[in-house]
């Protein structure tokens, strides 16, 4: 069933993010995928997303957990999903380990192209975040001076 294929797609995305398997990550997204991420703004293609995801997560150890999907179909080849999420990131900042924890929902769209389901859109909306005292999140991209 298509629902299972989309659940599998999502599972692979979360795993690819946390293991930094960027070839797998890219392969799950349509070239025209659009990301609207609470931390970083809008990315209009999968290629633009990859440049930014790789940079932004370079110095982070992350956990992405997704729960209780609400998947609905507009057509047999177009679907939308809402997932509850928890995200946890750790990084080094001036010699100390800091963390950022977020709770929210992913709002996503999917399309089946050439028989494969792919992400076409992702928006992440947090309803609660917290961080270690003094943490700067997201850590500035390209800033490796603290390592």
């Amino acid at each position: 069933m298509a629902i299972d294929a989309i659940v599998l797609l999502k599972a692979r995305r979360d795993r690819a993010a946390d293991t930094k398997d960027w070839d797998l990550y890219l392969s799950l997204h349509a070239p025209d995928h659009v990301s609207q991420n609470g931390d970083y703004g809008v990315w209009n293609t999968a290629a633009e997303m990859m440049v930014n995801v790789i940079k932004s997560m370079e110095n982070l150890t992350t956990m992405h957990h997704s729960h209780t999907p609400e998947i609905e179909f507009d057509t047999p080849d177009h679907a939308r999903g809402i997932w509850a999420m928890e995200g946890l990131s750790f990084w080094e900042q001036q010699g100390e380990t800091h963390w950022f924890q977020a709770f929210g929902h992913y709002f996503e769209s999917y399309e089946r192209r050439n028989g494969r389901w792919l992400f076409t859109r992702r928006a992440l909306k947090y309803f609660h975040t917290r961080r270690s005292p003094g943490a700067i999140f997201p850590p500035p991209i390209d800033n490796k001076s603290d390592r």
Binding site: T68, P69, E70, A84, E86, F127
Partner: protein
Amino acid sequence: MTGMSDIEYLLAVEEIKLLKSRRDRACDTKDWALYRALHADHHVSHNDGHERWEGADTMIEAVKAVLDKGRTTVHHSHTPDITFPSPTTAKSIWGMEDLIFDSETGELLIHGFGFYHETYEKIDGKWLFTSRQLKRTLVREKPESNKG
């Protein structure tokens, strides 16, 4: 399974999982109209730490009184164990974790774990909640406040 084909069973499981997903989201985003719409009128809640709430209207007022103002909540549910006494009635047990924060100070007030025991009924073609009992295995109150 009683009198259901494999396809009917799978469709009903998916619909009940969707119902549960909506309930958790409605609770955490405080969408009380959606929350109420997921429950049958005769729904009964009986959660550890709270009185028994008879009727969905009583429940929604009680839930709002506990959570609407000053509380930020996270409810995450896992690994449903869904069974069907009949084609139009179901029950399930879900593993759950919740966090309740003071919205003003950000303080973590409760970090809880347990299992939801729920029943559902298919009424006019739609699956709805008819009962919920949260059985706690662990409640950590203000787990981050004993510093120093």
